[in-house]
């Protein structure tokens, strides 16, 4: 793999425009997954693309030290845990595995801007878990396959 380049223009474009906009677009794809094409897998891939771009161009100081590999491992594990909890928690409320209609998230309608059914809330929780899992996994793949930033 090539080393990160020292060009000031490249750093400015990537840090000021590309990475922030890619991450914002990824989060847009995540939260609009209920109303438009998108969802957890796609949003995770987009945000992971921003991470990989930062690692390719900015180098260790600006990209890796802020989001090291062990944080990515924790991110992937946390996403998987969110999904599994969304499946296991309804079991304690007398419902089936992954039955979102019994999730204890009804209080969220009090602080949200509009009401949604519990199953829609559960869908968003699950999509968020998928988002974290895919994001962390793609970051792990890049970091371990290039092996450039591993000596923590």
């Amino acid at each position: 793999m090539t080393e990160p380049h020292d060009s000031l223009i490249l750093h400015f474009i990537v840090r000021a425009f590309m990475v922030p906009f890619i991450i914002v677009f990824g989060i847009y794809v995540l939260v609009h997954g209920e109303a438009s094409p998108g969802g957890g897998f796609q949003a995770g891939a987009i945000v992971a693309a921003a991470f990989v771009l930062a690692r390719l161009t900015l180098g260790r100081e600006h990209a890796v030290n802020r989001f090291p590999t062990r944080v990515l491992i924790w991110t992937a594990s946390l996403g998987m845990a969110v999904y599994l909890l969304a499946g296991v928690v309804p079991l304690f409320f007398g419902a089936n595995f992954l039955d979102y209609s019994q999730l204890p998230v009804g209080w969220f309608n009090n602080i949200a801007t509009h009401d949604e059914t519990l199953r829609a809330r559960g869908i968003f929780i699950v999509e968020f878990g998928v988002f974290l899992a895919v994001l962390g996994t793609l970051g792990i793949l890049y970091d371990y396959l290039t092996e450039r930033y591993l000596d923590d």
């Binding site: 996403g79 998987m80 499946g87 992954l98 059914t117 869908i123 996994t137 792990i140 793949l141 591993l150």
Partner: protein, 96 residues
Amino acid sequence: MRWLTLAFLISFQALFIYVSLDLPDRADPNAPANVHLSPEFVEQGEKEIEIPNLVTAVQADFRSYDTLGETLVIFTAGLCVLLVLMRGSRTDDRAP
């Protein structure tokens, strides 16, 4: 041998083309694939979940086991890469 393979492939292709003539048209509402579960998904999705994107509803609610499995596959792939390529601190000491 080569001609035998060619004849076998041509006959197999002819069989496929002959069978594909009986397949239903695309987006045929009376096709067997569209009369079993899809109407229930569409009706329940509109009535009980109330989100505009039915694809997300089917993917994350009705077929949630499937999505859980897909996510586990991706996560396991990442963990396998991590385990294979991880720089071991313990195995280096007792290397032959």
